[in-house]
């Protein structure tokens, strides 16, 4: 799609100032050499750089819900729901995924080590998704939401994570528990998550209504609305 638009623009207006609209040829920044990442090229999505820190990004104050009153809920589109207390969630079999994560603000962090319960397991305990429940909305303390196709959180691709680097997940990183969907930009990995709402239709979440891409695949550089 994108390349077609560029080609048409070039044909219709051959003397257009090529420095104004981006043609297929990139603009070279005079005197910029950059610091080459030592990261293997196949681990760093386009436009990202590797960081060893773990930057914090969120839009408001960090909510703090006591574990005694914390729960996690899967809600079906027909109103059925399954709920776990903190202790019940802790009693479930755990995974320990080590994954690369990618934030839309350009940093990527490699080999992050998490502990959590797979969404596959939770969905199974909740009776499985109905055939027409093709989407989920994750909802969080503080009112944050993010939307995903069901296929992006099933088949070993997503977890409710409560441990990071061998420790309980700190609150500024989304503790006590966050969604972990490492193959998408990290705003999809909702912090302070309290549940998943299964839905028949896609419903844009918080950032998705504020100009960010609906799916957020870092390898396709889907940062903002209108990106490929």
């Amino acid at each position: 799609m994108g390349s077609l638009i560029y080609i048409c623009a070039g044909i219709s207006d051959p003397i257009a100032d090529s420095s104004v609209t981006m043609a297929d040829r990139p603009f070279i920044a005079r005197g910029f050499h950059g610091r080459r990442s030592t990261a293997a090229a196949d681990r760093l999505p386009p436009g990202q750089y590797e960081t060893r820190d773990f930057p914090v990004l969120s839009a408001g104050p960090t909510p703090r819900t006591p574990l005694e009153s914390w729960d996690f809920t899967i809600e079906h589109a027909d109103g059925r729901s399954t709920r776990w207390s903190w202790d019940e969630l802790m009693a479930l079999p755990r995974d320990t995924p080590t994954v690369d994560i990618h934030c839309v603000t350009k940093w990527s962090k490699f080999d992050t080590a998490w502990e959590g319960v797979s969404i596959d397991q939770l969905l199974q305990l909740a009776g499985g998704a109905a055939a027409d429940e093709s989407f989920v909305v994750a909802f969080s303390d503080g009112g944050y939401t993010t939307n995903l196709p069901l296929a992006d959180v099933t088949n070993g691709k997503a977890w409710i994570a409560f441990g990071y680097a061998g420790q309980p997940l700190p609150s500024e990183h989304g503790g006590p528990a966050r969604l972990l969907v490492p193959h998408l930009y990290f705003w999809k990995s909702a912090k302070w998550v309290r549940g998943l709402r299964l839905a028949l239709r896609d419903q844009p979440g918080f950032w998705e209504q504020l100009g960010y891409h609906n799916r957020g695949d870092p390898w396709r550089e889907q940062r903002y609305q209108g990106d490929p």
Partner: protein
């Protein structure tokens, strides 16, 4: 992709080459870059834009920077803090000069934004270069008819007097009605300094922040520890969490 989806797809934020019309040093560590952006559609105070630097061999780096200028300004200004040993900010602060092109796209971000017609007093809390998007709000406030009716209080934490960005302009704002500006210096302060001399704490916010009952809108921007602490303190003081909007400056370079 179906034709329906194509028709509904929002316009892409295209990369475009802005021209640097001038640069100016704000502090020993921060430089403002003034840009002429072709077909700029305007921004809202608090938004940021992305920049992309491509080297001769195709290597590229991208970063996000807050917009410092008022939406009413014809030019777009960024203020960049130089992070030593980083990849991008030293280029922007030391190499880029008037006449150069700079590839950008934006504006981006629809949450950490303020408009002069919003009701309620304004509380701005900045740490270091976190002042940049808040400066856009202050400039917007000064340049619109509705703006000066919004009472504003700014609390700005910097390492030293020399590190305060926009000091003269902020002093000028402090001399206008409905505008209170307080500084705190965390590392060193002149002997005759009559502002605060410590990290922002609850006692300081008790003195500066609007009482929760005033229904203020708070915007907090700076390094993560400052933002975490201030946002939590404001909630403790009774601010509704949805009235406390935060933007954190990670260690991006």
């Amino acid at each position: 992709m179906s034709s329906t989806q194509v028709n509904e797809a929002p316009a892409r934020l295209e990369w475009r080459v802005a021209t640097v019309t001038s640069v100016r040093d704000e502090t020993p560590h921060a430089r403002t870059i003034v840009l002429d952006v072709p077909e700029w559609r305007g921004h809202r105070a608090g938004q940021h834009l992305d920049i992309r630097l491509v080297a001769e061999d195709g290597y590229e780096a991208q970063r996000s920077y807050s917009i410092a200028s008022s939406p009413e300004s014809a030019s777009v200004e960024l203020t960049v803090e130089r992070i030593e040993n980083a990849e991008v900010s030293p280029y922007l602060c030391d190499v880029l000069r008037a006449g150069d092109g700079l590839e950008i796209r934006g504006p981006i971000g629809g949450y950490f934004v303020w408009h002069a017609t919003l009701e309620g007093p304004l509380l701005l809390v900045a740490g270091g270069s976190g002042i940049v998007p808040l400066m856009s709000m202050l400039r917007h406030r000064s340049r619109t008819a509705a703006g000066p009716h919004t009472p504003v209080r700014l609390l700005y934490s910097a390492r030293s007097l020399a590190d305060i960005i926009y000091k003269q302009e902020l002093d000028a704002v402090a001399g206008t009605p409905n505008s209170d500006i307080a500084f705190t210096l965390t590392r060193s302060a002149p002997s005759d300094w009559n502002g605060y001399r410590r990290r922002i704490d609850r006692a300081m916010l008790d003195e500066i922040a609007w009482p929760a009952a005033d229904g203020a809108r708070a915007f907090v921007c700076g390094p993560t520890p400052l933002v975490e602490s201030v946002a939590s303190l404001l909630v403790d003081l009774g601010y509704a969490p949805e009235r406390v909007k935060t933007e954190r400056f990670g260690p991006t370079g």
